[in-house]
């Protein structure tokens, strides 16, 4: 599965044995770590782990990271990075309640208010994504600095929009993206799978996917081959912002409340960690969406395992960081 959906660069058949082994290591090193975590829980933690509710909890919790990290993979594949995703989640999360709680005319029409509460926040953060693209692609500011600006200011913008308060709401129909189930599967897990599969397909099968990898692999060569590198960069930052917005909406739907100070907190770091653990080169030019998905699952399961072992949240953070370091080193050796 992994080699099938990852990019040809990562999963290609190569002539030299060393890189062939490296390729297997990239594709399967993360998978092996994931299976190890599952095996550990299945053996030592069987009572709690091998249950439908545990599966649901893990899927529910991993969805946001996986969705954001998928878009982050595309950004990183162009040689960039997006630090603003957590703040963009907060912005999207602060706009939706304004629409849901408004009593103005259009919102009373059934479904329209709910639909607008999905669409408007995502369009607004898309505009912020275009602003990131403008700084990176048009003004040629280093991506880490360019997106740091919105990382710092975004949460403030969200708080201003929300009037500085936590907003609770109760719209069961709208909240289906965080609380609904289809055939017992959490809706956000379905959204996550759709996002991951679509992104993997885009990267492998579309012109845009090739352009993303070419831009990150050698920007000047890509430009001279007619690749619209500026547009490609705009596109990945806009996609990243929109998927972050979607994750922000899922987050507030789960909690029936929007707290701009907390929605998407640390998300940029978790997403980058998932990409790194998944085996995508932070230098750009190589990317594996499936690897990122596995990376997100590893981070989620490490935290889950430690919490069920009764360790404190602080300890979990430290051990998770160690696990990330281990996974990245493992992949470097395999490479």
């Amino acid at each position: 599965m992994a080699s099938n959906l990852s990019s040809p660069a990562a999963g290609s058949t190569t002539s030299s044995g060393r890189t062939a082994i490296g390729s297997i290591g990239r594709s399967y090193g993360g998978l092996a770590a994931l299976l190890l975590l599952i095996a550990y829980n299945a053996v030592f933690n069987a009572g709690a782990f091998l249950t439908v509710s545990s599966l649901r909890i893990n899927l529910t919790q991993v969805a946001e990271i996986a969705i954001v990290a998928t878009a982050m993979t595309l950004v990183i594949a162009t040689g960039g990075i997006d630090l603003s995703v957590g703040s963009l989640m907060a912005i999207a999360g602060s706009i939706a309640p304004l629409i849901l709680l408004s009593s103005a005319a259009p919102w009373d029409v059934p479904f329209l208010g709910g639909a607008l509460a999905y669409v408007i926040p995502i369009l607004v953060v898309a505009a912020f994504g275009a602003a990131n693209g403008f700084l990176v692609a048009s003004l040629r500011i280093q991506p880490i600095i360019a997106t740091l600006i919105l990382f710092i200011s975004g949460r403030g913008i969200a708080q201003v929009i929300a009037g500085g308060r936590l907003k609770s709401f109760d719209e069961p129909g709208w909240q289906v993206i965080g609380q609904g189930r289809v055939l017992g599967i959490p809706v956000q897990a379905i959204i996550m799978v759709v996002v991951v599969v679509t992104a993997a397909w885009v990267l492998k099968r579309t012109v845009f996917g090739r352009y993303v990898l070419a831009t990150g692999g050698n920007e000047e060569a890509a430009r001279l081959a007619g690749v619209p590198v500026v547009r490609v960069k705009y596109a990945v930052y806009i996609v990243s912002a929109m998927l972050a917005g979607l994750a922000g909406l899922i987050s507030i739907a789960i909690n029936s409340a929007s707290d701009p100070a907390n929605v998407g907190q640390d998300m940029e770091l978790n997403a980058i960690a998932a990409v790194a653990v998944g085996g995508t080169s932070l230098l750009g030019g190589r990317a594996t969406i499936v690897g990122t998905f596995i990376g997100a699952l590893i981070i989620q399961l490490t935290g889950y395992t430690l919490l069920t072992e009764g360790l404190s949240d602080a300890t979990v953070r430290i051990v998770t960081a160690g696990a990330i370091l281990g996974a990245v080193l493992l992949q470097r050796r395999a490479r």
């Binding site: 040809p8 692999g217 050698n218």
Partner: protein, 546 residues
């Protein structure tokens, strides 16, 4: 400013720098194979050579930026082994690069004494510092307010400040690495005045440049490098420009040509193209490297572009392809005036461009042969943005077969291929678009002999099928045997154009060195060098339609 022979000999009997038998390899690839350099005290010494001749490696060893593998370096009478640039600077070697490494928001005086500011009771003594700086600048005959911040000055004056800083270190040797590339003529004259000032103070200057005229204006002696070795060390006054160029390229003047040194088939060389030109460029300009280029290419014609490093050949190609936006000039392609907004426009019009820098501007190293080959053609191989794998595979298989690309398969990473096979993939990148004009910048550089001949043969074959080719090459044989006509560039200007029947090694060397064709120039009306460029239009016109 020529020195008399006697003083020149005196200076060289007690040289400030002697480098001898210096060797250096990078990752097993030799960059220097026994290079030598001798610079007399207070001598202005030129160091010239083609790309990859080893100039910069030799200089970096002298400045402590690289460590030599073998050989001797004597500086100021002592054997030395500079481990760092700071060690070299303390010993008296100052280097001034094209990009000035000074602090823009500090004053001129502060920059001169950066890190060594005069102090009184531990506090900066500004008045002493400014006074010393004024004295120093007066010695260099530069009129400059020492309290002005550096960023207000133009590049030329900033260079003067860097030179003054070098002088304040009591340097015995100042290395100037292409100092004139961003200066205008008057600024160059000022710089030369300063260099002469340094010389009067007994400071030796090592001058690295591509501009031959400048060597004669200011240098006493010249060292010529080729393929990692020193091939000549001569007084400037006893060396003609054409000798310089010939030595640099490893050619003998008056050498009888041996035919068939390339994979090009001279039987294919046309006797003239009567059809209307496919491409006409008039006065294409992009400063600082390209002042004025005018060329014409007929359908199915291969036009060679000759010239030394820095003559504006690559700049012409890049401006034509809109890889860099031209600042002036007219381009007519296929009968229409065109102004491309970027490479994508040029590609749509039917132009392809293979850069001289295959690694930096050609291949996407992490992508496969398939993706590299079809990168430019993807829009034509897709429907609604989705790549059609069958169509893509068919094209890739066809060109792997047709160009004889040696690869484990289309999925192999391009970076694993040999240079020649990478180049073939990049050629295929354009050929699968069926272009009208292909721009090839050094198409066979760094490619083994067999693949080289194959690529040359392929260029001929494509031209035979009606493709026009603009071929830039530093290998005279390639231009002589592979081009239907050759336009020579010099100092950012196109000068002479020769037909295949007219072209010869000596004539090319002469034109590259002097900007005129030695056999057609009338000595009574043409000065030896610089002014010839003014007659570009007429000369270009005479090259066509024999």
């Amino acid at each position: 400013m020529q020195t008399t022979p006697e003083t020149a000999i005196d200076r060289r009997s007690d040289p400030v720098v002697v480098m001898d038998g210096v060797t250096k390899a990078f990752a097993g690839v030799p960059a220097l194979r026994g290079a030598s350099l001798t610079i007399g005290r207070g001598e202005v010494h030129a160091l010239i050579g083609q790309n990859g001749a080893g100039k910069s490696t030799l200089v970096r060893i002298l400045t402590g930026a690289h460590q030599r593998d073998g050989g001797h370096v004597i500086f100021d009478g002592q054997p030395v082994d500079f481990r760092t640039p700071i060690a070299a600077q303390q010993a008296g070697v100052s280097t001034i690069y094209q990009e000035i490494n000074l602090v823009p928001y500090r004053s001129v005086a502060e920059n001169i004494y950066l890190g060594r500011e005069p102090r009184r009771f531990g506090i900066l003594d500004r008045s002493t510092m400014n006074r010393n700086a004024r004295t120093l600048l007066r010695r260099l005959e530069i009129d400059l307010d020492v309290e002005r911040p550096l960023y207000e000055l133009n590049i030329a004056l900033q260079q003067m400040v860097a030179l003054a800083r070098a002088l304040s270190f009591e340097s015995k040797l100042v290395i100037l690495d292409e100092p004139t590339s961003s200066l205008d003529d008057r600024e160059v004259q000022t710089l030369f005045g300063v260099i002469r000032g340094l010389k009067r103070d007994g400071v030796a200057v090592l001058f690295i440049t591509h501009r031959l005229d400048e060597l004669y204006a200011v240098c006493d002696h010249v060292t010529i490098m080729r393929d990692g070795q020193t091939v000549a060390d001569r007084p400037m006054a006893e060396t003609t420009k054409i000798e310089l160029v010939a030595t640099m390229l490893g050619k003998e003047l008056g050498e009888v040509r041996r035919e068939g040194q390339t994979g090009f088939d001279e039987a294919r060389r046309s006797k003239g193209h009567d059809a209307a030109p496919l491409l006409t460029i008039r006065n294409l300009r992009r400063e600082p490297g390209l002042h004025e280029a005018s060329i014409e290419i007929a359908p199915g014609e291969t036009l060679g572009l000759a010239g030394l490093l820095g003559s504006g050949r690559t700049e012409t190609a890049r401006a034509l392809f809109a890889a860099d936006q031209p600042e002036g000039g007219d381009v007519q392609f296929d009968g229409r005036a065109v102004a491309f907004g970027g490479p994508a426009d040029a590609i749509r019009a039917g132009i392809g461009f293979c850069s001289e820098d295959r690694k930096g501007e050609g291949i996407i190293p992490d992508l496969s042969v398939r993706e590299n080959m079809t990168l430019a053609a993807l829009p034509t191989l897709s429907r609604a943005g989705v790549v059609d794998p069958g169509q893509q595979q068919a094209i890739v298989d066809r060109f792997i077969d047709r160009l004889g690309i040696k690869t484990a398969g289309p999925d192999q990473r391009i970076s694993e291929l040999s240079g020649g096979n990478q180049q073939k993939v990049l050629l295929a990148r354009w050929l699968c678009l069926n272009p009208r004009l292909l721009i090839l910048d050094e198409p066979t550089r760094g490619i083994d002999v067999g693949a080289k001949a194959e690529i040359q043969g392929l260029i001929d074959e494509l031209a035979g099928q009606g493709l026009s080719v603009l071929m830039i090459s530093s290998e005279l044989e390639e231009l002589i045997e592979g081009a239907d006509r050759v336009t020579v560039m010099r100092d950012g200007r196109s000068t002479v154009t020769m037909t295949h029947a007219e072209v010869s090694q000596d004539r090319l060397l002469g034109a590259m060195a002097q900007g005129v064709d030695p056999e057609s120039a009338d000595p009574s009306t043409r000065p030896a060098s610089a002014d010839a460029a003014g007659e570009t239009g007429a000369v270009v016109g005479s090259g066509r339609g024999q």
